[in-house]
Symmetry: C2
Subunit: 149 residues, 2 copies
């Protein structure tokens, strides 16, 4: 069991690695049916003739799976509340890919007005089983100060 992390437990350059998840063809199609119903996310044959050259997960599916890995693997006290960030998808997630998120703390900014919290800027790289990034995200997360004993 990993200890819950408070603002005071974080430092610049600190890294974390989440667990992993393997993405099935069925999961790719199920997410796409609900949220991104385009041929290259739903149908192998149509995907072959697309820019992707084969079935590809929606980038938002990769983003949602990355969030799941972060929730399970980055134990901030009080949970992970993101305020937003920049996300790019250098290559698609493919059926059978196993994804892991590698996290680095880029900035820690205590709140000026609220001493109980701060903002932590993280770089989150979601990599497939070949170590290739499928998503690079720069996410702002709320972190809480350790309560007085």
């Amino acid at each position: 069991m990993i200890a819950r992390l408070y603002l005071e437990d974080l430092h610049l350059g600190q890294t974390f690695t989440t667990g992993s998840v393997t993405v099935t063809t069925e999961a790719i199609k199920a997410f796409a049916r609900d949220y991104d119903p385009q041929p290259f996310h739903l149908d192998e044959e149509a995907a072959r003739d697309s820019l992707f050259g084969g079935l590809a997960a929606s980038g938002w599916h990769t983003a949602a799976l990355s969030m799941r890995l972060l929730v399970d693997g980055l134990p901030f006290a009080g949970g992970l509340i993101g305020v937003g960030g920049e996300t790019t998808w250098p290559r698609p997630t493919r059926p059978g890919d196993t994804l892991t998120v590698h996290i680095e703390v880029l900035a820690i900014t205590p709140s000026k007005s609220r001493p109980d919290r701060g903002m932590v800027r993280t770089r989150n790289e979601t990599r497939n089983q070949h170590g290739e990034p499928v998503q690079i995200s720069n996410l702002g997360i709320v972190a809480w100060s350790r309560p007085a004993a």
Copy 2:
């Protein structure tokens, strides 16, 4: 039926409005169970005591729903292939909220190396039924040139 849009059909400042989707409590919890299983997305009582002050959709759920609205409402020829962008969540999506995405074309950049395509930068504001933004996203989308007749 709206015509499919090619690179040549787009201009700076052009706006589009998607259809709408109403978000149920059950949908918020179902998404959270799969992708963002934190108390404030899963349980009304726990959410009341959180930063959100009540049940709130995962930001990634708002993002996925926004993509669905874009896929159905922004008829780019060849579909919507995003390369990434910056996303912020100024306020959470709540149970019963009805979301609509308002799109503005910010930049159009024809590819230097590939005359068949270009990159379109859009600002996408997802608003609730009160007109308040729940997500502001600046997304790069591939657009295709109109094929020679």
